[in-house]
């Protein structure tokens, strides 16, 4: 039973991280129908920035919670800035182009960002300091839940609630929903579509950076390649839940997290990454619209 609970918490933790990244995919797809291939890289850059800032601060004598807060804030800011810039450089000029063009551009951007970090930093795995505090009251449950897991799940839940409120109740959220529904019509009624798209990229990237900081302190090491696999998995989660749907992305991420956790726990850990791909292929074949998505018919 303890093993089951451990796997359950493991799945929930993975699922929460995937959800943070998957939201970026699903929001961007919902608005401009583009698979933002570079999104995984934004997450990786978030983790790297946090690592760099945290190390510099730690060496200059700061400690504890202030390092965590400062590093996270800088990481989130920078990731958002990268997301904003990537959109302006690689996607905005291609908004009217055929569908494959922005996709190829996105793949190019992803390769570029990976190699940019590889060349500017290092190809080795870097040890990531555990910035998250130890929680005393979790001691009795140490068998299956650690404080990092607890903090990850708690943070993700909070962020989900905030995001839902942002989209449901604010002016910006309303504009985003309008743009997702019909971009041209939104433009006609006076929504500034360009700034809505920019905001979407900024929010998505900021969420990815939070995911980056959390997962990096959980696993304890990062390199330039972590974004690729995480990106594909989060994308799988987004498709599983129905791409374009925000609750769908969260649900899909949790399903994927549990699938991975239980299948590696009970079947085999050799094919950890393959499970996600197999799941992805199966969904796309049998239910391309996903769990919560609605199917759209192709218009002539």
């Amino acid at each position: 039973m303890d093993y089951f609970l451990e796997l359950f918490v493991g799945g929930l933790t993975r699922g929460s991280i995937y959800a943070l990244i998957a939201l970026g995919y699903t929001m961007v797809y919902g608005i401009i129908e583009l698979i933002n291939f570079a999104h995984g890289e934004i997450y990786m850059i978030g983790a790297f920035t946090a690592l760099i800032i945290a190390s510099v601060l730690a060496m200059s004598g700061m400690s504890g919670l202030s390092v965590l807060v400062l590093a996270s804030v800088v990481a989130v800011t920078y990731s958002a800035a990268y997301g904003f810039t990537v959109e302006k450089v690689a996607y905005k000029p291609l908004r009217q182009a055929p569908r494959l063009s922005p996709l190829i551009s996105a793949i190019g951007m992803s390769i570029f960002l990976q190699n940019y970090v590889l060349l500017a930093q290092t190809s080795d795995f870097l040890p990531f300091p555990n910035l998250l505090p130890e929680l005393e009251f979790l001691k009795p449950y140490a068998g299956f839940i650690g404080s990092t897991e607890f903090i990850i799940i708690l943070t993700t839940t909070l962020i989900m609630i905030l995001l839902t409120m942002l989209i449901k109740f604010t002016r910006m959220g309303k504009a985003m929903r309008a743009t997702a529904q019909d971009r041209d019509m939104a433009m006609l009624v006076g929504v500034n579509v360009n700034s809505v798209i920019s905001n979407t990229f900024i929010i998505g990237s900021a969420l990815a950076a939070v995911g980056g900081v959390l997962i990096a302190s959980h696993i304890g090491r990062i390199n330039f390649y972590i974004g690729f696999i995480a990106g594909i998995k989060a994308f799988t989660a987004a498709v599983l839940g129905g791409i374009g749907s925000i609750p769908g992305a969260v649900l899909g991420s949790l399903v994927l997290g549990f699938t991975e956790s239980f299948s590696t726990g009970y079947i085999s850990s050799d094919y950890e990454d393959a499970f996600a791909f197999i799941l992805l292929i199966l969904i796309l074949i049998f239910k391309p619209s996903g769990l919560l998505g609605h199917s759209t018919s192709q218009k002539v």
Partner: protein, 409 residues
């Protein structure tokens, strides 16, 4: 007068200046700071910031210049278009130039291994392999418009077919060549069958997942593929049982690749104008209209996948024979991305373009050694820049157009 020019230039320069500042800010943590966590030292590389600043300033100016040419100011666009078509026509359409160019090229190709070292010949062979791979992927991506990001899986299928058949049954190169192609074709059809219903971008992701699954299987299924350590001792191709030293074998492989290249170019060229080729292009342009014209969508897509993967399988066998060693490390996503950038740079659907693209992308990093670290970085940039400024590639595919001329009396 001069004052007015000065303000005009100042306005032109203001934006690049802002862009440069923005990029200096953006790249600050990653370009400038490097932390050595073992010795607890922070390295500040301020010079990098200077490079980023000046580089992005220049690039931004260039970007503005390019976008200025692209913007719909009407006159400028039509001007450049009128120039562009006669230019490609002048080069490739002139009856006198083409044979001369072919003669020069073939003489050069013939004497190449005898005037350059083994090393150079080896690189050239690699480049030729990528030419064939590019042409194969072009059938799927360029002609049929199906973005295949797992092309490397078929390449791996060819290579592993030869390696495994040799290991278990002692099968030679010449028998393995068609078998490898067959294995890749079957794999292509197997992949295509379930994913045919998918739309463009989903298809791309599924093929990407397929490529990664193939690599993961090769890495983890030790009994089948010998895991990450791979299979070594694969023989080079033989020629009627002749004994060859390394130099001769390299030269032989080079000529083999030349022949394979010529065959590929011939077939792909014939394919373009065939019934299937036109069906592929129709499919790329508009699926619904294409179906309405009575084209069996499923069959055409299957054909495209099968044809594309056949070439990958063939080159895979040659790859195994050339390196005499295969392991899963050679078949990563980056390989697929590289072949894709060859197709994108060269121009989707254009044979001349893809040959040029492959030669540029493979040979340039080899000859400019200082460059080779930046190879993948460059591929990424090329994909983005090409999509934005020249989506048709350096040599745009010659679309068959019917022109209407008023009869002159």
């Amino acid at each position: 007068m001069s004052y007015r020019y000065a303000t005009k230039y100042a306005a032109e320069l203001r934006r690049p200046f802002v862009v440069a500042l923005w990029f200096m800010f953006l790249t600050f943590p990653i370009m400038v700071i490097r932390v050595n966590t073992i010795e607890n030292v922070v390295e500040w590389r301020w010079m990098n910031m200077m490079y980023v600043g000046s580089g992005s300033f220049a690039l931004s100016l260039f970007w503005r210049y390019l976008s200025g040419r692209k913007t719909p100011e009407g006159k400028r666009v039509s001007e450049s278009r009128e120039e562009a078509i006669p230019f490609t026509k002048r080069i490739f359409g002139d009856r006198r130039i083409v044979p001369t160019a072919i003669v020069i090229l073939s003489v050069f190709a013939l004497i190449f291994p005898f005037i350059f070292s083994i090393y150079q010949t080896n690189i050239m062979t690699t480049a030729l392999m990528y030419v064939v791979l590019g042409l194969g992927l072009n059938i799927v991506v360029g002609q049929a418009g199906l973005l295949n990001l797992g092309y490397v899986a078929f390449y791996a299928a060819g290579a592993y077919t030869y390696a495994l058949l040799h290991y278990h049954f002692g099968v030679g190169f010449w028998l393995a060549l068609p078998l490898g192609a067959l294995a890749a074709t079957v794999l292509g059809i197997l992949l295509a069958l379930p994913v045919l219903r998918l739309r463009g971008d989903y298809l791309a992701i599924v093929t990407l997942g397929f490529g990664e699954i193939t690599r993961l299987i090769l890495e983890n299924w030790n009994d089948f593929s010998f895991g990450p350590s791979g299979i070594s001792g694969i023989p080079r191709p033989g020629l009627f049982g002749m004994e060859m030293n390394i130099q001769e074998a390299t030269t032989y492989l080079y000529f083999l690749m030349i022949i394979l290249c010529i065959i590929t170019i011939f077939i792909v060229n014939r394919l373009q104008d065939s019934r299937i080729g036109r069906a592929l292009i129709a499919l790329r342009e508009d699926e619904i209209a294409c179906q309405a014209m009575g084209i069996d969508k499923t069959r055409v897509k299957l054909t495209a996948f099968a044809l594309g993967s056949t070439w990958a399988g063939l080159v895979g066998v040659v790859f195994a024979a050339k390196t005499t060693f295969v392991n899963p490390g050679s078949f990563t996503f980056l390989e697929s991305a590289m072949i894709l950038s060859i197709v994108v740079l060269g121009g989707m659907g254009s044979i001349t373009g893809i040959i040029t693209g492959a030669l540029i992308l493979i040979l340039l990093p080899e000859y400019l050694r200082a460059f080779s670290d930046y190879r993948m970085l460059l591929f990424g940039i090329i994909m983005v820049i090409m999509m934005i400024f020249r989506p048709q590639g350096i040599v745009s595919g010659a679309r068959r157009t019917y022109e209407f001329h008023k009869e002159e009396k």
